[in-house]
Amino acid sequence: DSWNKSTAGKMVEWTDFERATIQDIFSKMDYEVVGPAALSRCLVVYPWTQRYFGNFGNLYNAAAITANPMVANHGKVVLHGLDRAVKNMDNIKETYAELSVLHSEKLHVDPDNFKLLSDCLTIVVASQLGKDFTGEVQAAFQKFLAVVVSSLGRQYH
């Protein structure tokens, strides 16, 4: 129930540092690399998430998942979807209203899984940025993803 009610009526406030950090990270990111890396890592580390990809073919082991072109393609779709939040940081809830309905009513994705993918994305970004991914940058990035995850879960009922 907290998925629907917890953020009702609250505007997210971003500091200048947080805004700049999110814009900076995503402007330098190669979505075509990071998307596939994050999704395939999620499917390997949390194999129950494979339940949503029954028609993706061979997900038999880590090597197969990493090489799977449908997984790679879908990773890119997810990152480009995330881009919408990057471009609408003051309006993420509204921006994702339709995607939230899609994930709930059509895809039937357990919203707890959004957090798993978001953790994998954070780890992939950390491994790419190295020391530049400071504690403060991590905090901003994770806050952004938490807002995205919350918005995606909002239309579940």
Binding site: R41, V44, A62, T66, I123, A126, G130, E136, A139
Partner: protein
């Protein structure tokens, strides 16, 4: 989610690779946890308010934590016994809410990926994630 023989092998192999940097990894992980999850600072209020990866006590304590992880790697075949003394410490003296073990584990994993991007493959990641969950379980054994 018990540790398979493969998990144990992956963990031991990866640990051998990173052992030299364990102290630094611990300092980084603890420091960024205190920054990115400020509620965890409540356990370290005696060190002051502005805690981060550069704070001397944080760096030292990160090393101590990784010493505990090293012990866990050595006790991987019987984590409950291996972690028993540390479990008593956390249960009766430190009384750290076990939810925080998961938060610290996330940060340890993140720093491992940062320092060893080529070695921390998804396969290594899943084994390490499972291992740290089992360590957390063993640490909370004596809580109630």
């Amino acid at each position: 989610m018990s540790l398979s023989a493969k998990d144990k092998a992956e963990v031991k192999k990866f640990w051998a690779k990173i052992e030299g940097k364990a102290g630094e990894i611990g300092a980084e992980a603890l420091g960024r946890m205190l920054v990115a999850y400020p509620q965890t600072k409540t356990y370290f209020s005696h060190w002051g308010h502005d805690l981060n990866t550069q704070t001397p006590q944080v760096r030292k304590h990160g090393g101590i934590i990784m010493g505990g992880i090293a012990k866990a790697v050595k006790s991987i075949d019987d984590l409950t016994s291996g972690m028993s003394t540390l479990s008593e410490l956390h249960a009766f003296k430190l009384r750290v809410d076990p939810a925080n073990f998961k938060i610290l584990a996330h940060n340890i994993i993140l720093v491992m990926a940062m320092y060893f991007p080529a070695d921390f493959t998804p396969e290594v990641h899943v084994s390490v994630d499972k291992f740290l969950q089992r360590v957390a379980w063993a640490l909370s054994e004596r809580y109630r």
